[in-house]
């Protein structure tokens, strides 16, 4: 059952990722991206990472993509103003590059023997994760807070002033 669900989520995630890249209309792209994020959250649940799955939905689907949608709506470009794809030559070169990159990554992955099943049970409970974040990773966590504050200030300045 879990294995079946995993393949369903993976197939959906990959299919909607392809749609994100190929749709001309940015709103469709954004909604397909939300779909991808949902499927990834599903995969996280299957891998016992419950907290991460919820954060994935809340942060990516609930905050970041809403921001994207908000900006797309605010600019509200008409269909003929929408820039679409690079010209054909660049497109083929880019496709070749992406395929080579993915292929070499796949080759690297397949050439080494990783265990298909984990060594034991993993408790993806919030408490254990919290202990790590507020213990071993306390400094990075605090730095993330500073980073977010900086992002807020930067976004406000960029949006206000004519640059």
């Amino acid at each position: 059952m879990i294995s079946f669900l995993f393949y369903v989520f993976s197939a959906l995630a990959l299919a909607s990722a392809v749609m994100v890249v190929t749709r001309k209309n940015p709103v469709s792209s954004a909604l397909f991206l939300v779909m991808t994020f949902f499927c990834l959250a599903g995969i996280y649940v299957l891998m016992d990472a419950f907290f991460l799955a919820v954060v994935q939905v809340a942060v990516y689907a609930g905050a970041i993509m809403v921001l994207f949608l908000f900006v797309i709506m605010m600019l509200n470009l008409s269909p003929d103003e929408l820039p679409a794809f690079m010209n054909r030559r660049i497109k083929w070169a880019a496709a070749a590059l992406a395929i080579v990159l993915t292929g070499s990554l796949l080759f690297l992955d397949l050439s080494r023997r990783l265990p298909a099943s984990p060594a034991g049970e993993l408790k993806g409970e919030v408490g254990a994760l919290g202990d790590l974040i507020f213990g071993k990773f306390l400094l990075p966590f605090e730095l993330t807070a500073v980073l977010l504050l900086m992002a807020i200030v930067a976004a406000v300045i960029m949006a206000r002033r004519e640059i």
């Binding site: 709103v27 949608l69 797309i72 919030v126």
Partner: protein, 348 residues
């Protein structure tokens, strides 16, 4: 299939049917309560006391012409109402509406899924409610709809923050993210509305804004702002938006009850000796208590709508960002000091 799966399926069906039934009758309740407040009679032609009115309304919606603007994005225009309806109904999966009920010799928990991250699940799903409004406003290809969609998504994003922050002191005090754990903590100690009045106030104000109810119903201010994101909707698609709002209201009421009013607990009465050997009666008492509390909150939602005037948009944003957000941060600080200083709360 194993019995646990059947029980879960049964619970999903019951919760679904109950929520949708309540949604239908909320439309009648809204009209009846507003009539009482305004010294009128309200709908009283269809059925006794207008009790069949929701069915008549439903039939009217079904038979209306479903008009889609020529320049609209057809697929997204049809998708938007579903995006509003689904999150509202999904949230109910983690709300405990009773303790346990012995059925056929099995102790059945009165909750669809008792997740260890219940509260986070609710906020994650609730944050998806924006999509329906934003996509609906954009896909209609009408400037009033677009502005309405922008307006309402900005409002929902702003109030989500103070809503999420207002719950953190509760998590700190009860030491758990499970909704059943929070309810039990209140059953063993005090209700959070007594120990945390400020969190309660912040949460209630934010949930009024999140459900787009008056005094914050700018997303659909029909007299002064040409409707909102649903200007170009008709027939069942409009009905989905309309019913989605009521479903959101029911979820919000259930959450307020669960987080601040002890959930299904009824102090003193549930400790009577009679219930010690009548498990089924105790289970029923809990379910009925929860429903009654939720009904009271639904009434308050309607009452507020017909009593208060509407905010102006800049006032609404100012309230969200300049008052509620700092207050909720201060609130977290205060309860952090109290919990650390006096050793209150926690799992201990």
């Amino acid at each position: 299939m194993n019995p646990a799966l059947w029980i879960t399926l049964g619970k999903i069906l019951v919760v679904f049917a109950l929520t949708l039934g309540t949604v239908a009758y909320m439309t009648l309740a809204e009209r009846k309560v507003s009539a009482i407040i305004q010294w009128r009679k309200g709908p009283n032609r269809v059925g006794i006391w207008g009790l069949l009115q929701p069915i008549a309304d439903g039939l009217k919606f079904v038979f209306k012409e479903d008009y889609v603007p020529q320049t609209a994005n057809k697929a997204l225009h049809a998708l938007a109402p579903m995006l509003t309806m689904a999150p509202a109904l999904m949230t109910f999966a983690v709300v405990p509406f009773g303790s346990t009920l012995p059925i056929f010799g099995m102790e059945v928990k009165m909750i669809v899924a008792d997740l260890s991250i219940g509260i986070l699940f609710i906020f994650a799903i609730a944050s998806l409610g924006v999509y329906g409004l934003a996509v609906g406003g954009w896909s209609s290809n009408n400037k009033y709809s677009l502005l309405g969609g922008l307006r309402s998504s900005a409002q929902m994003i702003s109030y989500e923050i103070s809503m999420g922050l207002s719950v953190i002191p509760i998590i700190m005090m009860s030491g758990t993210l499970m909704l059943t754990g929070i309810v039990d903590w209140q059953g063993n100690h005090l209700w959070f509305v007594i120990t945390q009045p400020l969190s309660f106030l912040l949460f209630v104000i934010s949930s009024f804004a999140e459900t787009n109810r008056l005094p914050f119903d700018l997303p659909e201010a029909e007299p002064e702002l040409v409707g909102g994101f649903h200007t170009e909707y008709s027939s069942m698609k409009f009905a989905s938006f309309f019913l989605g709002e009521y479903a959101n209201m029911i979820t919000a009421s259930a959450l307020i009850v669960t987080l601040f009013f002890g959930g299904y607990h009824l102090p003193f009465i549930e400790n009577l000796a009679f219930f010690d050997n009548h498990g089924f009666m105790l289970g029923m008492l809990h379910v009925i208590t929860f429903m009654a509390k939720t009904a009271v909150w639904l009434f308050i939602f309607i009452w507020v709508r017909w009593s208060l005037p509407r905010f102006r948009y800049d006032q609404l944003m100012g309230l969200g960002w300049k008052v509620l957000l700092p207050l909720s941060l201060v609130n977290i600080l205060i309860y952090g000091i109290i919990i650390l200083g006096f050793g209150l709360g926690g799992t201990s």
